[in-house]
Symmetry: C2
Subunit: 193 residues, 2 copies
DNA sequence: CGCCTGCATTGATGTATGGTAAGAAATGAT
DNA sequence: ATCATTTCTTACCATACATCAATGCAGGCG
């Protein structure tokens, strides 16, 4: 009963223990194996997933076949495709498990319950605003920072994530090739640390 | 009384005419001259602005002194700095009027009123989700598309904006130099259109 | 009107990052 | 363990875009 998800709700949405107990039996929990997909290209019905344990990523594929990692979602993160979720557009994202992952599926069982709680929407908005803020910062760094600066920003922001993700995925997240990332890392080592 | 803002609320938040009439006298409207600033670097108290008429932009300045345009906000758009608004961080963005602009200041007079309305938060969330979606798409294009592709995407998305914004600002929004944008445009002309 | 200032264009050159290819290292399967 | 597959590294060359500098052009303002 001591799920990360419940801690998350307690902290971010300020749910009480009683509310959490009521909610618990309604939760839709799923374990997905490594390398499996939670969302495929073009699907129109999708869910947000809370990562209880493990690691997911979302990515797109461009015309030339190259992947672009949009988001990493380790423990305590939520990942989804907004297009298919809210604007019934066919999904342009793929959601994949990098490790075996336990997810809580944010379906109507959950939303029906919490959306009735007082103050829910206000706190939920803050979570969203925070995400927008984060995305704007990422855009800012993509607009001008060098590959090296972006990489340093990444390992600073996600220190524990770096060893769990293949380098080529990090490169994809940073908008550079795996070879370039390898060179950047080498350069960093030869310089000092 | 026929403000764009009221149309916006009617359409997006589904306010009734009566509600709009009640709201109208509380609105905080301001006209700011071309080139003036609505938010300076480091300020900690800020507001969202709805652009009734005119054109705003937000931008950051990196260590080398270069500007990065984060957002353009023409008529019917809202612009703000999330950091200073919600997370009392000193603003890393500057908000500036590209043209003489009429703004509605989204202050507590407004929020107090609308946040009491049934269904407000739900619809407000959709607006936010839409913005997140948009930002993710921008990230996606910054992650892989060429300067030309990004420019084409820009003029397609903002056809009426292109002539109102100096080219060097568009370049900054796209993450390239004004010289490069000039060459991209030349190349497009010589190719066909 | 002419002067200034900022913007756009163009050319020459530089640099960061991409592409290709090969081998080394790590990971996973039988 | 062994073999196969994937990932990472390294070297060499290619290219998109940046930088620097000069010129042209237009709008604001005396």
């Amino acid at each position: 009963m001591s799920l990360n998800f419940l801690q998350y709700l307690k902290k971010n949405l300020e749910l009480t223990d009683t509310q959490l107990e009521q909610l618990f039996p309604r939760l839709n929990i799923k374990i997905v194996p490594k390398n499996s997909l939670l969302l495929r290209l073009g699907e129109t019905r999708s869910y947000p997933y809370f990562v209880e344990k493990g690691l997911l990523r979302s990515y797109s594929i461009d015309e030339t076949g190259k992947q672009h990692v949009i988001q990493f979602a380790p423990e305590n993160n939520i990942i989804c495709d907004r297009g298919s979720l809210y604007f019934n557009a066919p999904s342009k994202l793929i959601i994949e498990a990098i490790e075996e992952t336990t997810v809580i599926i944010i379906d109507h069982h959950y939303t029906d319950y919490v959306s009735g709680l007082p103050g829910f929407h206000k706190k939920n908005e803050m979570i969203l605003q925070h995400h927008v803020w984060y995305l704007q910062n990422r855009i800012d760094s993509l607009l001008g920072a060098t590959a090296e600066a972006r990489y340093l920003g990444f390992i600073q922001r996600y220190p524990n994530l770096t060893p769990r993700v293949p380098q080529w995925m990090i490169a994809s997240y940073l908008g550079i090739t795996p070879e370039s990332l390898s060179r950047v890392r080498k350069e960093l080592v030869t310089r000092h640390l």
